[in-house]
C-alpha cells in the first residue's frame, strides 16, 4: 500500500475517530502516543498514525504477495484454494545459505523444508531451518520503527530523518559514519556495500559474527597467502579425522556434509569410512565417531603437529617439498606430551592412503593449526582428491574479532557519530571486555535493523524492524558460492524492511525495493535482463552455474613454520586449580539469535538432552574430583568476570575442562527467550574466543535443570540396568563382523513365533511402515522440529519439561556405552511404532485408538476421554497427553503457524505420531485423481509410488535415515530395509509386532578393539 492510498482510505472514515472504541484502540496500540493521538490539534500526525494503524490492523490477515512469485511445483498458472503451494527460498546463517522449499496454504506459509535441488540441502535441513517458521509468527517480533526519544514511529518518519541525516553525511564523505553488519554472502548486499562505500568514502564498514569461522580463513591465508575455503568430500574418504570440527551440526555445509558422511558409510558398499574425532566438548560429530580422543582445547594444535610428526617419523609419510620449513617443528613435537596421545591406529589409518583420507579442523583451532591441517592434507595426498579449495569472497576483510575491536576502538575515541547496525546483536555477544553497550551509548546516532527489539536495539537511537526471511526478497550464496534466491512467501506482517531496503534508503538510491535490487544484481551478471532465467532460478531456488570455480593454491610455510615451534612450547593442559572453559555454540540456539524460538528452546541438546538452559558440562571424572553433582551451581571466574552456571555431568567431556554453550541468558530476547539459561559471553573477553582458563568455585546452591531424558540424576541400580538394556535396544555391529557374515552378525535371538489371540488384520492395499537406519542417524534433531511444525505440536515450557510432559511426537533417545571417560554414543529416533498388536489399542475403554485399514494405529482425538491407560501400556512411551489446554492464550498471529491439515488438540486428549497421515491422504487424493487406464480398461486412479509419501521427519532428515512406505511392496525402500540383515525390531519379543524396523548401527572401530 502506498502512503497515499492509506490516507485517502482513512479520510473518509475520520469522523469515527472520536469514538470510545477508537480511543481504546489507540491506547492499546500506541500507549506512548495516546495523548497526542487523542488531541485533535495535530491532524497531520493523526493521519500518519491512522495509516500505520491500518497497516498493523491488517497484519494478521493473510495477504497476497504483490510482486510476482512463481510457484515451485504446482500449477504456476493458477491457484486452487486449500491446495498447498511450494516456493523455493533460502535461509542464510553466518554467511552461508541453505536452500529451502516452503509450503504455503492460501497465502500462509506453514512448513519449511529443504530444497532437493540445492546441493547444500538435498532436501534436508537442520532444526533452525524448520524453526524459522515459528519466528515468522512470533508476536514478540519488532512491529514498528522505534525512535529512542519519542517511542514508536513510522517508517516515513525514519525515512525523513535518514534522508536529512545522510544527505548531511554525504557532504563530508561519511566522516564519523560506521556500519556494523552481520556476515552475509548476499551478492546484492555486496553490491550495495560497494555503492555505500562509494557514496560515503570516509565511512567504515565492519562485519562481526560472535561464532566466527575466521580462524579457518586466516589459517588458509597463512598457508596459501590468500584465504581459501576448504571443501571436503566425506563420501570418498576412508579415514576422516575431525579436529574439534562439528561438521555434522555447526558447519555452514553441515546438511550436505552429513549426507556425504553417511554415504561414505554404507555397510553394503565397497568402502566404509572410519571417523576419528579429537575434541574437548563432546559434539554431535564426536558422538558419531568410531574412535574419539578427548583433549583440552589448547592441546589440539599440538596434536595436529604431533600427528604430522608421527606420520613423517613413524609411518614413513613423505613431507612434500614446500613443507620442509616444518622440519624443526616436527622434530620438536616428538618430545611433546601430546605426542603419546596420537593413537598409533590413527597414524596407520591415515598413512599410505593418498587421496582417501581427509583431515578437518574446527574454528576453535588457531590459524597456525589450520595451516598445519592444510599441510597434513597435502602430506596425505588429499588435495585435489578429497580436499578442494575455492577462493573466499571478500578476501581483504579483517577477521571478525579484529573488526569489532577496531570499531570499539573508534567508538571509544568518539570517532563514530553515526553507527548503522545491520542484524547481529553486539551488545549481547561482542567480547565482554569491549563494553560495547557503553560505547554504543556514546554514539550520537545509531540505527539498528533487527528482527527483535533486543539488547542492542534498546541502546540505539533508532530501531527499524527487520523483515523475516519468509517476508523478504533477497539473495545469498551457499558454502560453495552458488547463488540462492530468497523470495517472500507473504508480505511483511509488521512492515519490516530487509537490510537491502535499509541500505538503499540510507543511500537515497532508487530502486529502493528489495525485489528490484535483487533483480538488478541478478541481471548485472548477465548483461541483459533475462526474464526466463530469472523465473527458472526462482523456481529452482538456485542460480545454475554461479558456484565458485576450484582453485589450486600453493602451500608455503614461510609465514607460520616458526610459530608452530613456538606454539609447541605452550602448556598442553590447564594448570592446577584452573580449568579450561571451552566456549561453544548452543546446539539449537547457535549464538543466541534463536533464543526467542520456543521450538528451538524446547529441542533437547542432542547430547545433554537439556532444554531451556545451558550448563557447565563436566566430565564424570572431574565432577567426582570436585564432588559436584548435576544441578549444583558453580561460580566460574575469569579475571574479574564471573558467572554462575549449573553443573551438567556428561561423559566424553575432556577432563579438567568445562564445556559451556553460548547463546543463553538473553535479557531482551522476548517472552520466550529472556531469562532462559545463563550468559556465557560475559566470560568471553580478549582476542581468544575459543577457550579460557578459569577458576571454579562451588556456591552450595542448586538449580533445576529440565532434560527430556534421564529426568533425574540416576541411581547406581538404574544406571547399571540402563547400560545393560541399551545394548539390546540399540543394536550395533562391528564392521568386520558384518562383512564376515551379515546373516549372523547381529546375534539375534530366535524365538518360537507367538500364537495370535485373534485373527490378524488383512491389508489388501497398502501396509505402511517405517525403517530407521541407526547407521545414518546423527542425532541432530531436525526431525523433532520438523514434526513439531507439521503436526502443530505445542511448546510447553521448562517447568513442564522438567515434569516429563514434553509433547514431541518423535524423540531421539541417546545412550552411552562403554567407559564413561571415553564413551560411545548412540542416537535412536523414536516415534510411534504403529504396532500390529498395539498394547494401547487393547486397553482404551472407549476405543479411541484403533487400527485402520492400512495398518496405521490411529488416534481418534474426538473419541479420546483421556484415561492415559494407553500411554501406561505403551512399551515405547511415545504417547503424549495434553495435561492442559496448550492453546489457551494464543493470539490471532500465533495461530497462523498451524498446519490446517492437522487437528489442534484440546486438553485432556492423548496424541502421538500419526505417520503424517495427512500427507498420506494428500498423496492418495492426488493419485486417485490422476486417471490411468486400469486392468479392465476403465480409467482409475493410479497407485501410489514408492517414496511419494514422505513424513515430515523423514523429509527433514539430512541423512535420509528415515524411510517410509508400503510394506506390502518388498521392492519399496522401506520394504528392502525391513528385509535387511541389519533390521531388527525393538522389544519384538513381546509380540507387539512394531511397524518400525531399526537398522543396526555399524561401528568401524578397527584396531585392537575391532578385532573382537
Amino acid at each position: 500500500m502506498s502512503p497515499l492510498a492509506q490516507r485517502s482510505f482513512w479520510r473518509s472514515l475520520e469522523q469515527r475517530a472520536d469514538t470510545p472504541e477508537f480511543r481504546q484502540f489507540v491506547e492499546r496500540e500506541f500507549p506512548a502516543w495516546a495523548d497526542e493521538m487523542l488531541e485533535p490539534a495535530s491532524r497531520r500526525r493523526f493521519l500518519q498514525l491512522m495509516g500505520a494503524s491500518m497497516a498493523l490492523a491488517g497484519m494478521t490477515a493473510c495477504r497476497w504477495p504483490v510482486e510476482p512469485i512463481v510457484p515451485f511445483a504446482h500449477r504456476p498458472e493458477g491457484f486452487v484454494p486449500g491446495e498447498p503451494l511450494h516456493y523455493a527460498t533460502a535461509l542464510e546463517l553466518s554467511g552461508a545459505a541453505v536452500g529451502l522449499v516452503v509450503t504455503s496454504y492460501d497465502g500462509r506459509p506453514i512448513k519449511v523444508e529443504g530444497n532437493p535441488d540445492h546441493a547444500y540441502s538435498l532436501g534436508g535441513t537442520l532444526a533452525w531451518h524448520q524453526a524459522a517458521l515459528l519466528e515468522l509468527y512470533d508476536p514478540d517480533r519488532s512491529q514498528h520503527v522505534v525512535a529512542r526519544e519519542t517511542g514508536p514511529a513510522l517508517w516515513d518518519e525514519f525515512v525523513g530523518f535518514a534522508r536529512a541525516h545522510f544527505d548531511a553525511l554525504s557532504a563530508t564523505g561519511g566522516r564519523g559514519l560506521a556500519v556494523l553488519a552481520e556476515s552475509s554472502s548476499s551478492p546484492s548486499r555486496a553490491d550495495l556495500r560497494a555503492r555505500f562505500q562509494a557514496a560515503f568514502p570516509q565511512a567504515r564498514w565492519h562485519e562481526y559474527e560472535p561464532l566466527s569461522r575466521d580462524t579457518v580463513r586466516e589459517g588458509a591465508r597463512l598457508a596459501f597467502g590468500r584465504p581459501y575455503r576448504t571443501h571436503v568430500a566425506l563420501d570418498r574418504a576412508e579415514t576422516i579425522l575431525a579436529l574439534d570440527e562439528d561438521f555434522l551440526l555447526h558447519h555452514p555445509a553441515a546438511v550436505r556434509y552429513a549426507r556425504d558422511f553417511v554415504a561414505g558409510r554404507d555397510p553394503d558398499g565397497a568402502t566404509f569410512s572410519r571417523l576419528w574425532v579429537v575434541e574437548t566438548n563432546l559434539s554431535l560429530t564426536g558422538s558419531a565417531a568410531d574412535r574419539r580422543i578427548a583433549l583440552p582445547n589448547r592441546a589440539l594444535p599440538a596434536f595436529a603437529t604431533c600427528l604430522l610428526s608421527k606420520l613423517v617419523h613413524e609411518a614413513g609419510a613423505k613431507l612434500p617439498p614446500g613443507l620442509e620449513g616444518l622440519r624443526p617443528a616436527l622434530e620438536a613435537a616428538r618430545s611433546h606430551p601430546v605426542y603419546g596421545r596420537v593413537d598409533a591406529d590413527l597414524v596407520l589409518d591415515l598413512a599410505g592412503k593418498p587421496g582417501r583420507t581427509v583431515v578437518l579442523a574446527g574454528p576453535r583451532l588457531t590459524p597456525e593449526a589450520h595451516a598445519l591441517v592444510h599441510a597434513l592434507n597435502e602430506t596425505l595426498g588429499n588435495i585435489g582428491r578429497t580436499v578442494r579449495y575455492t577462493e573466499e569472497p571478500d578476501p581483504d576483510r579483517p577477521p571478525h574479532a579484529t573488526a569489532i575491536r577496531e570499531l570499539a576502538h573508534a567508538m571509544g575515541h568518539n570517532l563514530v557519530e553515526t553507527l548503522v547496525i545491520l542484524g547481529g546483536n553486539p551488545v549481547y555477544d561482542a567480547p565482554a571486555d569491549l563494553g560495547f553497550g557503553d560505547l554504543l551509548a556514546r554514539v550520537k546516532t545509531s540505527i539498528r535493523l533487527a528482527t527483535y527489539e533486543d539488547e542492542t536495539s534498546r541502546a540505539c537511537t533508532w530501531h527499524v524492524p527487520r523483515a523475516h526471511v519468509l517476508e523478504s526478497w533477497g539473495d545469498a550464496r551457499d558454502f560453495a558460492g552458488t547463488v540462492c534466491l530468497v523470495q517472500p512467501l507473504i508480505e511483511p506482517l509488521h512492515a519490516g524492511k530487509t537490510d537491502l531496503e535499509l541500505l538503499a534508503q540510507l543511500l537515497g538510491e532508487a530502486p529502493s525495493s528489495a525485489y528490484e535490487i535483487v533483480r538488478r544484481t541478478f541481471a548485472a551478471g548477465r548483461g541483459e535482463p533475462d526474464e526466463r532465467a530469472w523465473h527458472a532460478a526462482l523456481r529452482a531456488g538456485v542460480v545454475e552455474g554461479s558456484a565458485w570455480p576450484d582453485a589450486r593454491p600453493t602451500l608455503g610455510t614461510q609465514a607460520w613454520g616458526e610459530r608452530i615451534v613456538a606454539a609447541l612450547g605452550a602448556p598442553a593442559a590447564p594448570g592446577p586449580e584452573t580449568f579450561e572453559l571451552v566456549f561453544g555454540p548452543a546446539a539449537s540456539l547457535v549464538d543466541g539469535r534463536f533464543a526467542n524460538n520456543g521450538w528451538l528452546q524446547e529441542l533437547a541438546d542432542p547430547l545433554t538432552k537439556l532444554t531451556w538452559d545451558n550448563a557447565a558440562v563436566l566430565a564424570p571424572e572431574t565432577a567426582t574430583e570436585l564432588r559436584l553433582v548435576q544441578g549444583d551451581v558453580v561460580q566460574i571466574a575469569r579475571g574479574g568476570a564471573r558467572i554462575e552456571l549449573p553443573v551438567f555431568v556428561l561423559p566424553g567431556q575432556a577432563p579438567r575442562t568445562i564445556g559451556a554453550a553460548l547463546g543463553y541468558g538473553r535479557t531482551r530476547a522476548g517472552r520466550v527467550g529472556s531469562g532462559a539459561g545463563f550468559d556465557v559471553y560475559a566470560l568471553r573477553v580478549g582476542e581468544e574466543g575459543a577457550w579460557a582458563d578459569v577458576q571454579l568455585e562451588r556456591t552450595g546452591r542448586t538449580y533445576p535443570l529440565a532434560t527430556t531424558q534421564d529426568h533425574f540424576a540416576i541411581d547406581t541400580l538404574g544406571a547399571q540396568e540402563r547400560a545393560e538394556r541399551a545394548v539390546t535396544l540399540v543394536r550395533e555391529v562391528e564392521l568386520e563382523a558384518w562383512r564376515h557374515d551379515p546373516a549372523h552378525a547381529l546375534h539375534r535371538e530366535h524365538a518360537v513365533p507367538p500364537i495370535e489371540l485373534w485373527k490378524p488384520h488383512d491389508y489388501p492395499g497398502e501396509r505402511w511402515g517405517m525403517a530407521i537406519d541407526l547407521n545414518a542417524c546423527t542425532g541432530c534433531g531436525a526431525c523433532v522440529v520438523a514434526c513439531q511444525a507439521e503436526n502443530n505440536i505445542p511448546v510447553v515450557g521448562k517447568a513442564e519439561v522438567a515434569r516429563g510432559r514434553e509433547m514431541h511426537w518423535i524423540r531421539i533417545d541417546r545412550y552411552f556405552a562403554g567407559d564413561p571417560d571415553a564413551p560411545e554414543v548412540v542416537h535412536q529416533p523414536l516415534t510411534c511404532h504403529h504396532c500390529e498388536n498395539a498394547p494401547c489399542e487393547q486397553v482404551c475403554p472407549v476405543a479411541a485408538t484403533v487400527h485402520d485399514a492400512e495398518g496405521l494405529n490411529v488416534m481418534v482425538y474426538n473419541r479420546c476421554i483421556g484415561t492415559r491407560y494407553c500411554n501406561n501400556n505403551c512399551p515405547y512411551k511415545v504417547r503424549r497427553f495434553n495435561w492442559f489446554n496448550n492453546h489457551k492464550s494464543e493470539s490471532a498471529l500465533e495461530v497462523m503457524v498451524y498446519n490446517p491439515e492437522v487437528t489442534v488438540r484440546s486438553r485432556g486428549v492423548m496424541e502421538k505420531c500419526t505417520f503424517c497421515v495427512q500427507r498420506i491422504q494428500h498423496v492418495r487424493i492426488h493419485a486417485r485423481n490422476e486417471q490411468v487406464r486400469g486392468e479392465n480398461g476403465r480409467a482409475e486412479g493410479r497407485l501410489i509410488r514408492d517414496g511419494e509419501i514422505v513424513p515430515a521427519c523423514a523429509q527433514a532428515c539430512p541423512t535420509r535415515a528415515i524411510a517410509f512406505g508400503d510394506l506390502n511392496d518388498p521392492a519399496s525402500r522401506v520394504g528392502r530395509q525391513h528385509g535387511s540383515e541389519r533390521a531388527y525390531k525393538m522389544l519384538d519379543e513381546f509380540n507387539v509386532r512394531p511397524r518400525t524396523a531399526y537398522l543396526a548401527r555399524v561401528r568401524n572401530r578397527g584396531g585392537h578393539e575391532g578385532a573382537a
Binding site: 534421564d710 516429563g804 476421554i865 491407560y869 485432556g908
Partner: protein
C-alpha cells in the same frame, strides 16, 4: 463394660455369648435406636462432622480446580500416567471389601458374630465405594465425556471397547455398588421400621416410614426378607472375589513390568479384605466406646477381625515374596529389574513402608493381649491402612516410573492438589459415616436379637435375674 465377662475365651466347651451385659431384646433396641433418636448428638459429633465436612469441601474445591484447569494440576507425567487417582481408587474399593465379606460370606458360613458389626461394615462399604468411584470419574482428561465408558446406544453406533480392563472396572464397580447398596438397605428395613414406630415427630415418622416400605414384621414379611437376604448374600459373595480381581486386571493384563503378573487377583482380594477389616476396626473401636456399644460390638468381635487381618496379612506377605521369587525364577529381565527396583530403587522408601506396615505390623496380632486391646489394635489398623495405600503406590508408581526404555524413565512427585484430594476423600468418607451414625441404627438390631440366647427356643433357661423376660419390641 457393664459386666466383666470375657467372651474372648477360647474354651471349646462353652459357646461364647455374642451379646454381653444384661441385654434383652428391649434393651438392645433401646441402646441402638436411641443413638439415632437423640434430638442432639454430642458435641464431639459436631466437631467431627465439621472437620469432615470442611474436608469434603476441600475435595470439592480440588475437583473444581481440576475440572477447570486440566489433569496437569496433578503431578502426573509420561511415563507415570496414573498415581494418586488410581491409588486412591484401588484403596477405597479395597476398603469396601470387608463390608461385603462380613455381610455376605460370613452370613453364608453362618458366622453369627457378624451381626454385631455388619451394618457398620456395609455402610463403610457403600461410602468407600462412593469415594472410590469419584477417582476414575475425575481422573480422565475430558471429564465431560466420561459417560462414554457406559455402553449407551448412540447414533454413531459407537460402543466401548470390551477388551479394555477399564471397561470391566466400570461394570465390576457399578455392579458392586448396586448390590452392596441393595443389600445394606434391604437388611436395614426391619430396623428402619423400628425407628418409624418409635418416632416422636411427624417428619421422622414420614421419612422412616417411607424408608421402611410398609414393614410390619409379619411372618410373611420375615419369610420373604430372609429369602431375599439369602439371595443377595449369594449374589454378593462372588463380588467379594470378583471386584478386586477385576480391579487387579487393570494392571495384570497390561504389559508393564511389575504389573503383568498372574498373582494379582488373589493378592488384591486378600489385600482388600485385609485393609477393609482394618478400616472396620478403625471405625468400630471408637464408635463402640463413644456410643456405649461395648456389649454389642464385643471384644470377641474385635479379636475375630484381628485374626482375619493376621491371616490376610500373611497372605499378602506371601504374595510379596512370591512376586520376587517369580521375578527371579521367571527369567524375564524387565520383570526382574522392576522388582529389584521396587526394593532398592528411588522409591525403595515406599516399598519398605509398605512391608513394615503390611507384613510386620500385623504380626503383633499373634499376641492375644494385643488382639483384645481395642486401642492397640486400632493403632495397628492405622498402620495397615497406611501400608495398604502404599502398596498401591508401590505397584502403580514404581512400575510406571521405570518400564522398558530407560530413556523414558521418569519420576513422579504429587502436587498439593493430589494430597488435598486424598485428604478430601477421607473427609467425604467420614462425613457420610457420621451422617450414618446420626440417623440410621448402626447395629443391625433385628439380626443381633436373632443371635441372642433368647431367640433360641431351645436355649437353656437363662439364669434368673440375668435376663428379663423377652418383650417383643414392636420392631421385630
Amino acid at each position: 463394660m457393664a459386666e466383666a465377662w470375657d467372651n474372648t475365651s477360647d474354651d471349646p466347651t462353652r459357646r461364647a455369648p455374642l451379646v454381653l451385659g444384661a441385654a434383652d431384646f428391649g434393651s438392645v433396641t433401646q441402646k441402638v435406636a436411641q443413638l439415632a433418636e437423640r434430638p442432639k448428638p454430642p458435641r464431639a459429633w459436631y466437631i467431627a462432622f465439621g472437620v469432615s465436612l470442611a474436608l469434603t469441601g476441600l475435595l470439592g474445591a480440588m475437583i473444581l480446580y481440576l475440572f477447570t484447569t486440566g489433569v496437569g494440576v496433578w503431578g502426573l507425567n509420561s511415563p507415570v500416567g496414573w498415581a494418586f487417582d488410581i491409588i486412591n481408587f484401588v484403596f477405597w474399593v479395597g476398603i469396601g471389601h470387608a463390608g461385603t465379606l462380613i455381610s455376605a460370606i460370613l452370613f453364608l458360613f453362618r458366622q453369627s458374630w457378624r451381626t454385631g458389626i455388619n451394618r457398620f461394615a456395609e455402610a463403610m462399604t457403600i461410602f468407600a465405594v462412593i469415594c472410590a468411584g469419584i477417582f476414575p470419574g475425575i481422573h480422565v482428561g475430558r471429564v465431560w465425556l466420561i459417560y462414554w465408558v457406559f455402553p449407551l446406544p448412540n447414533q454413531m453406533n459407537m460402543w466401548p471397547n470390551f477388551r479394555s480392563p477399564l471397561l470391566w472396572d466400570v461394570f465390576a464397580v457399578s455392579t458392586y455398588f448396586t448390590v452392596s447398596l441393595l443389600f445394606w438397605y434391604m437388611g436395614m428395613i426391619p430396623d428402619l421400621a423400628t425407628l418409624r414406630d418409635r418416632a416422636t415427630s411427624r417428619v421422622r415418622q414420614l421419612v422412616y416410614g417411607m424408608l421402611a416400605v410398609g414393614w410390619r414384621g409379619s411372618n410373611r414379611h420375615w419369610q420373604n426378607y430372609e429369602r431375599v437376604y439369602l439371595i443377595l448374600a449369594a449374589l454378593a459373595t462372588p463380588l467379594v472375589l470378583s471386584v478386586h480381581s477385576v480391579v487387579s486386571f487393570d494392571f495384570a493384563t497390561s504389559m508393564v513390568p511389575g504389573w503383568h503378573t498372574t498373582i494379582f487377583p488373589p493378592y488384591f482380594v486378600a489385600g482388600a479384605i485385609f485393609c477393609g477389616f482394618a478400616m472396620v476396626l478403625l471405625l468400630a473401636v471408637p464408635a463402640r466406646q463413644w456410643f456405649g456399644l461395648e456389649d454389642l460390638i464385643t471384644l470377641r468381635h474385635l479379636e475375630n477381625m484381628n485374626k482375619i487381618m493376621l491371616a490376610t496379612g500373611m497372605i499378602i506377605g506371601y504374595a510379596y515374596f512370591i512376586e520376587f521369587f517369580i521375578a527371579w525364577y521367571g527369567g524375564n529381565a524387565y520383570e526382574h529389574f522392576a522388582f529389584v527396583n521396587r526394593a532398592l530403587g528411588p522409591y525403595a522408601w515406599s516399598y519398605w513402608i509398605m512391608v513394615s506396615c503390611n507384613v510386620i505390623a500385623p504380626q503383633l496380632f499373634w499376641s492375644k493381649r494385643i488382639r483384645t486391646s481395642p486401642w492397640v489394635a486400632w493403632g495397628v489398623c492405622v498402620f495397615i491402612n497406611i501400608g495398604m495405600w502404599f502398596e498401591r503406590f508401590v505397584i502403580i508408581v514404581t512400575s510406571l516410573s521405570r518400564d522398558y526404555l530407560p530413556s523414558s524413565w521418569g519420576v513422579y512427585k504429587p502436587t498439593w492438589v493430589e494430597l488435598c484430594t486424598l485428604l478430601g476423600s477421607f473427609g467425604l468418607f467420614f462425613t457420610l459415616f457420621l451422617l450414618f451414625v446420626r440417623f440410621v441404627p448402626m447395629v443391625a438390631m433385628a439380626e443381633v436379637k436373632a443371635v441372642m440366647p433368647q431367640a433360641d427356643a431351645h436355649a437353656p433357661e437363662p439364669t434368673p435375674g440375668r435376663h428379663a423376660h423377652p418383650i417383643a419390641s414392636r420392631g421385630d
